[in-house]
């Protein structure tokens, strides 16, 4: 009894210490608390990743909601490989691409239109001018993979090692790509 009581008491605290992998397994069993914990652990990373793909905060928010719902509903299909983030990224990437497809399908929006909308919205939402400029620059001049690596490291707070593992690329590649991207940013911002 005491043991059970301890278990129930310890639970919330416990979750904070559990790895994403373990949380995901609990989520697979329908544990809503585990899901909340997983969300808190990964929201920054996931948002950064999604933003790096869609380049639009509004779309990113929408997609983030879909991604987490998808993580909830299909958690059972996760096969433990020690890379829960990679699995979550896959879901996010698929949903992002699906979004692109829908957009392409829904209207004849040209790339220029998308860029314009994107820039405008970013302008509205980002208050601090310097940060905004830098983020915009990053979204504009970097390639998709570079954006992923940069944003996951800076705003997602992931270590290079974690990025490499989650994106299934060698650590050296992740590092060099990150450094090259940052050089690009520096040059770009200097010219501007």
């Amino acid at each position: 009894m005491l043991f059970m009581g301890l278990m129930s008491l310890d639970r919330p605290d416990d979750y904070g210490r559990l790895s994403d992998e373990k949380l995901l397994i609990k989520v697979a069993n329908g544990d809503q608390e585990a899901f909340r914990q997983l969300y808190q652990n990964t929201d920054r990373t996931m948002y950064s990743f999604i933003l790096s793909i869609v380049k639009n905060p509004q779309d990113a928010e929408e997609i983030m909601q879909e991604v987490f719902l998808k993580i909830w509903t299909s958690a059972k299909s996760y096969k433990s490989q020690g890379k829960p983030l990679a699995w979550m990224f896959t879901i996010a990437r698929n949903l992002c691409y699906m979004k692109f497809r829908d957009q392409k399908h829904d209207s004849d929006v040209t790339i220029d239109d998308l860029m314009g909308v994107e820039a405008g919205e970013v302008c509205q939402e980002i208050e601090m001018a310097a940060d905004k400029m830098v983020l915009l620059a990053a979204l504009q001049i970097l390639k998709e993979e570079e954006r992923e690596i940069v944003l996951l490291h800076t705003s997602g707070g992931l270590k290079h090692r974690e990025i490499a593992a989650s994106l299934n690329i060698p650590l050296a590649t992740a590092l060099s790509k990150y450094n090259r991207a940052m050089k690009k940013m520096e040059n770009y911002l200097r010219e501007e």
């Binding site: 939402e125 980002i126 940052m182």
Partner: protein, 463 residues
């Protein structure tokens, strides 16, 4: 921030900027996520993979079925398609449609008599020889084929002349066997038919089978003494009676029609003749000249295609000239037509209706007895050629065969023609002829066009 600030940004600052910029953007969507949404079960997921696999397998199976269906369909189509039509006319006229494998697809009774005998028979899907046997058997039982004079007309229609020929001989063989079994004899006329609208309407008009109509049309073509009225009379007769008329009046039965006679002595049919189709080259001129006793019908019947015949009277010629007309066919259907042939003082001039090409021209000249004369082609051009020939005697007929000649488009062929040397001082005689080369085979041309086989009362050959 102004531009100078940007210039100062280093890597660390950029990182910081990015971090802070997104920090504020990160939304809290946790509350928007509906956790009451049921989670997909693992079973569901595995099933989805399974379903996917099953779908692939199903589509593969479907593809297999499609191929089988296609192959089967083609096979069935091939088997269900009428390849040849065989008409059997005694008086009952029966038409058997067979497929490629000689299976009967349908058996049609074309007149009342035929309906009588076909009533109890179901020949569908039966082998052709069995069907023929059955039909002949039924005709015997119903008294259409009797001990007395019998005549059967077999008509085979097939797109391929070769196939029709084979089928024809098979059917005739079958009929003969059937008749032998019944201890009967009959004259079997058999022919290959091609579809002609004129004949079709003729058949419809007189309520006779296509085969019979075709037979009569052939008969009329070859015996110009026969009028349309005669045809009407003949149409109302049955084959036996027609056979009698033919033998009585000695009409030419030519073309593809082959008249075979049962080996046993058949009194009335003893005069019928058998002409093999393999006699590719038949010069009507020769035929008539070797048959002095021919009736008028036979003589005039030979000109099956009057447009190709020119008489010498059309050409103003001296007494020393003789004009002849020859026609040439070759295997590919390309024709070299001889316009006319002149003979004067040891030089034969051959004029062609169509343009020709030459390559190492050769020529041989023979007389009726087969003696060869020295001859050479002395000059050639695209429309004519000159042949020097020596040693010919007056007033005789000679045959020449040109080699190394080809139509403008087509393979090399040989051209055969006939000319006569004039008797000096005599009025020029007229001759008309149609020759055909040995190169012409049954396979290449419509049966009725090229092969005319002369039958005469004087000379009868029996098979």
């Amino acid at each position: 921030m102004n531009q100078s600030d940007h210039r100062q940004l280093n890597k660390k600052q950029i990182e910081a900027c990015l971090t802070s910029a997104t920090q504020d953007l990160i939304p809290d969507v946790l509350d928007h996520i509906d956790l009451s949404t049921p989670q997909e079960t693992v079973e569901l997921h595995t099933r989805s993979i399974f379903v996917l696999r099953r779908r692939v397998i199903a589509s593969l199976i479907a593809a297999c079925f499609c191929m089988i269906a296609l192959a089967g369909g083609t096979y069935t189509y091939q088997n269900g398609r009428v390849d040849s039509v065989i008409g059997i006319d005694v008086n009952p006229s029966v038409e058997l449609s067979v497929n490629k494998r000689n299976k009967v697809l349908s058996a049609q009774a074309l007149n009342e008599d035929a309906r009588n005998i076909m009533e109890q028979m179901d020949l569908k899907g039966v082998d052709l020889n069995v069907a023929v046997n059955a039909v002949i058997g039924a005709m015997v039982t119903n008294g259409y084929l009797t001990d007395a004079d019998n005549a059967i007309l077999v008509t085979v229609a097939n797109d391929s002349v070769k196939k029709a020929k084979n089928l024809r001989s098979t059917v005739v063989g079958d009929i003969k066997t059937a008749l032998k079994e019944q201890q009967l004899e009959a004259v079997v006329y058999d022919q290959q038919a091609i579809e002609e609208d004129q004949v079709k309407s003729f058949a419809l008009d007189y309520g006779i089978s296509y085969g019979k109509a075709y037979f009569l049309k052939e008969l009329m073509d070859q015996n110009s003494s026969l009028t349309l009225d005669d045809m009407k009379d003949l149409a109302s007769l049955n084959m036996e009676q027609i056979a009698k008329v033919i033998t009585e009046r000695s009409y030419a039965v030519g073309g593809r029609t082959e008249v075979t006679e049962e080996t046993k002595e058949s009194t009335s049919a003893s005069e019928t003749t058998t002409q093999k189709n393999t006699m590719e080259t038949v010069s009507t001129e020769e035929a008539t000249s070797t048959q002095p006793s021919s009736e008028t019908e036979s003589q005039t019947a030979t000109h099956n295609n009057p447009t190709q015949v020119q008489t010498s009277s059309a050409t103003p010629s001296s007494s020393a000239e003789e004009d002849t007309t020859s026609e040439q066919d070759n295997k590919s259907g390309e024709k070299i037509k001889i316009d006319y042939v002149d003979y004067e003082d040891g030089v034969v001039m051959v004029y062609f209706k169509t343009k020709v090409k030459w390559k190492n021209p050769t020529v041989s000249v023979k007389d009726e007895d087969g003696n060869t004369y020295s001859a050479k082609v002395s000059d050639t051009d695209s429309e004519s050629c000159e042949i020097d020939v020596t040693g010919l005697s007056q007033g005789k007929e000679y045959t020449f065969v040109l080699g190394g000649i080809s139509p403008k488009i087509g393979k090399q062929v040989t051209v055969k023609g006939v000319f006569e040397t004039p008797v000096v001082g005599e009025e020029d005689s007229e001759s008309e002829e149609t020759t055909e080369t040995q190169a012409t085979t049954a396979a290449s041309t419509a049966p009725t066009e090229t092969e005319k086989i002369e039958q005469s009362t004087g000379k009868i050959t029996s098979q």
